[in-house]
Amino acid sequence: MRFLRVFFLIVPGLILPVIALAAGGSAVQPVRVQAVQADFSQEKHLKILVRPLISRGRFLFKAPDSLRWEYTSPFHSVLLMDKGRVRKFIEKNGRFVEDTGMRLDAMQVVMTEISGWLDGRFTDNAAFAVTRDGQAVRLVPKDKGMAVFISAIELKLSDRPGLLDSVTIHEGEGAFTRLIFSGAAFNPPIDAGLFAAP
């Protein structure tokens, strides 16, 4: 499914370029990020919703190509990306079951994006047109295929270098997802097994 492609293209890319941007200002300086870990809360807003949907979780990233994106509430699911392989698991009746109802053919693209951002080549990104105003960064997809899903992404940088306050993914009229991060740690030791299995 393209949704997973878009998600994996966005999520790691949301965290890592901000680290580079926050550290380097407008003249982007590479920041060697080997690993990142943070908690997040996610608000899903839709035009039809009276109240937003709230999810919580954490993510782990380890360069060059390992990601664990885990929701802990209101249900438990894990997206794993390890050495170019993507899998998705959902906890059912106390055990994780792999959700195979998706295509995972976009990892090469994703990996290219991640490695580019890790090297501080954020403004050279082929996927997004990027503008910055102070602590606010706005990304607009260049690819029309992606623009079907995402109209723009707004990043809010923290006053503290290397930290990100929030990410807002705009999908269209009245539909957006806001990720708010907390408890970020850079380059923590991460067990490689966390990227291999839920």
Partner: protein, 214 residues
């Protein structure tokens, strides 16, 4: 012998697929029946479910389903488990699709989804009749131009809803599990919807959140 077997098989198949609802013994009007009323929510609600779907062709997956009920207005949405919007629509008499990405933009999908939502959450527009089936189970039956809806109770007190089309063909069956009375509604922690027919599918729905009086 072979032709007899074929004829018998055809007879059995016909009996199974187009039998219509079973007959009701001692039918009586029961508009105020608590069992009838508690099968469907009243007032304004917002439900969020984790939905595991299985299609007849073997395909399947998991999505999040959102249903908002407010008077005669029904709003519904599907998102990925990560929150990306797949489908969004509302119906206040007429259906208006606000967003639908492939493959959720196929003809008939929105109507089918709305029919699922109506079957699960919306009391049919008809005065119910209560009666007994041959097996001795009490049933609350709604009949209108759209078809027939039977509401029964499972052994654990949850509603089981069965619908037939106006032509008497089996349509959908919904079985609720792990219910508790909430504002007069038998709120189920999980539901299984089975749509029969050529494009049959199964939805296993786990309640994530229910909010009343939005």
């Amino acid at each position: 012998m072979r032709s007899c077997c074929a004829a018998l098989l055809l007879l059995v198949l016909c009996a199974c697929t187009a039998s219509g609802p079973p007959g009701l013994d001692d039918p009586r009007a029961c508009a105020d029946s608590r069992n009838c009323a508690s099968a469907f929510p009243r007032g304004s609600w917002q439900f969020v479910h984790l939905i595991e779907f299985s299609l007849a062709d073997g395909a399947g997956g998991t999505v999040i389903g959102v249903t908002v009920l407010d008077g005669q207005t029904i709003k519904c949405a599907l998102t990925t488990t990560e929150g990306m919007t797949l489908f969004e629509a509302e119906s206040a008499g007429s259906l208006k699709v606000l967003r639908a990405v492939s493959p959720f933009d196929k003809p008939g999908f929105a109507q089918g989804l709305l029919a699922d939502v109506r079957t699960i959450f919306v009391r049919p527009q008809a005065a119910p009749l209560c009666g007994m089936l041959d097996e001795g189970q009490s049933v609350c039956r709604y009949r209108n131009k759209s078809g027939i809806t039977d509401v029964m109770s499972t052994e654990d007190g949850c509603p089981r809803i069965t619908t037939w089309t106006a032509a008497g063909l089996p349509d959908r069956t919904i079985t609720a599990h792990d219910c508790s009375l909430n504002h007069g509604y038998q709120l189920a922690r999980s539901l299984v919807l089975q749509a029969v027919g050529k494009g049959g599918y199964i939805l296993k729905m786990k309640l994530l959140r229910a909010q009343q009086g939005m």
